[in-house]
Amino acid sequence: MAYQQHLLTGTGIGLRQPHVEHFLQGTPAAGWLEVHSENYLQEKSKRRHQLRHIRNHYAISCHGIGLSLGSSDPLSQTHIKSLKALFNDIEPSLISEHLSWSSLNGRFYNDLLPLPYTHESLNHMITQVGQAQDLLGRQILIENPSSYLAFKQADMSEPELLNQLSQHSGCKLLLDLNNIFVSCSNMNTDPYDYLASINWHQVGEIHLAGHTLKQLPQGTIRIDTHNNPVCEEVWGMVTTYKDTLKHIPCLIEWDADIPSLDVLMAEAKKAQHYLGIAHD
């Protein structure tokens, strides 16, 4: 089926199962929708069928969590094949993955695990992202992860690595401002220094989400749970960079303790307000 090609404009929301019926029954005013690719791989599933229906009315971005691009394992050809079939079916406007690894020796950990920011990791990611793009026949956006630790082995900062990765692999960047804030808070670094280091010409999508504070004896650690509204500090980052961000597709992610669609849409409108984009 040939869908109408859509550009991702304005603010989108993550499409999650509790809200699917709203999008099957009508067309809520979301700019665009993002799905987790791994939830839609089964061709004969209800979810895939529903997504085909929803795709008729919305631009879709497919956000992956399973390619494990940073793993020293080779890319899973089976997974690439399933993803390719999904992308050919749905014709997403963007596809994205993470600067992380999630499998080793054929075992998957269902989480985004941290990489050391070394030349070896950079070269490995350039190779893996290049291969994945060639096999999928599409450009990938790579997202910065939330971090709770940093390795002593480091040749560069995370934004430096992302810049170089995009320059040498031809990928674009998906910048998650909540992840930047979470990582910088946990590592005691300045999120604005991070933002200042990014090559914004390479940024093709923005994520905004909430996180959880966990009290430890030494202080508060921030955990990337996507189960809360976007925090004030992240809105502050949005405000500071609004002239740049308003030209980039922006997504509200909410993956746990999922609220009603109205709450999610209100959060998307709030993003439009902070970005200075007119409401629908």
């Binding site: 791994e38 499998s103 080793l104 075992r107 695990l113 002593k152």
Partner: protein, 287 residues
């Protein structure tokens, strides 16, 4: 430990710390302290976030697929076995589509549940109900092609059982047990289950109902035998032979199963032998 590990070595070390060889030894693991930049949190504290994400994401999925099994064995024991499962049985794919079926096999092999086979049976039932509920099914049985089949080929028809069907048998009335435990779960009520209460041979058909939900239907032994025969690719002739059944009766039943969505197609087996004791009728008069 030296800080100069290559990427593969570092990931191997990280992964080994993520999954203890034995769950009880978690506290003994060295959380990469030599490899991490100093921060105001200890290496164990930050590493536990990754351990929790890994464990909780997979055990939450098991809780969602197996709510009744959870009630059956108790919440604490379920948490214990799901943790053991997550640690000892690697997830081999970057998605969770098949992980639940592996959990069913894991449960069946547990020594502690050796004398409670109904736990594995209930888990199997729940796994299939979950699977059935996720399949997209649109009734589109090809009646036109069926009507064109000549009389001589009628008895060689093999009807195909739909993917949205599951057949299971048990020495317990699993449907009643499932129903009672569902009720107890919804009311958040603790319930005492004695296997004796449910001792009754049961034949179960799990299927997707017209609302697209997974549903359970009790079968009698004859219908069960027919459906198992269909699943095994028996022809109409062979099905009639199975229970010495009148063809008319079998065809009427097949019509019902097509209407229920249990049968979604057919083929002709040209090599099978034909039946001698059935009352032959033209297919178009029946289907």
């Amino acid at each position: 430990m030296t800080k100069d590990l290559n990427l593969a070595q570092l990931q191997t070390y990280f992964a080994n710390q993520l999954v203890p060889k034995k769950p009880a030894s978690l506290a003994e693991l060295d959380p990469l302290s030599d490899l991490l930049v100093d921060s105001h949190f200890t290496p164990t504290q930050v590493f536990n976030i990754y351990r929790n994400n890994f464990l909780i994401s997979l055990s939450d999925m098991l809780e969602q697929i197996f709510p009744i099994t959870q009630v059956l064995v108790g919440y604490d024991y379920f948490a214990h076995i799901s943790r053991d499962f997550v640690y000892s049985v690697p997830l081999k794919q970057p998605h969770l589509n098949d992980y639940g079926s592996i959990f069913v096999s894991f449960l069946r092999q547990l020594k502690a549940l050796e004398k409670m086979q109904f736990v594995g049976q209930m888990a199997e039932l729940e796994w299939h109900l979950d699977y059935i509920s996720h399949i997209y099914y649109k009734p589109d049985f090809d009646f036109k092609s069926l009507a064109k089949i000549s009389e001589e080929h009628l008895l060689n028809i093999q009807f195909r059982l739909s993917d949205t069907c599951h057949l299971q048998t048990s020495k317990l009335d699993l449907i009643a047990l499932h129903k009672d435990l569902s009720r107890a779960q919804k009311l958040s009520k603790s319930t005492t289950i004695t296997a004796v209460t449910y001792q009754q041979q049961s034949y179960i058909l799990g299927l997707q109902n017209h609302l697209g939900e997974a549903a359970l239907m009790p079968l009698d032994q004859r219908h069960w035998t027919w459906l198992i025969g269909l699943q095994n690719g028996l022809t109409l002739a062979q099905l009639c032979d199975l229970e010495n059944t009148d063809l008319n009766l079998l065809i009427a039943q097949i019509k019902d199963w097509i209407a229920l969505g249990c049968i979604d197609g057919f083929s002709i087996n040209s090599s099978s032998s034909s039946i001698t004791n059935a009352n032959l009728l033209k297919p178009k008069e029946y289907l």
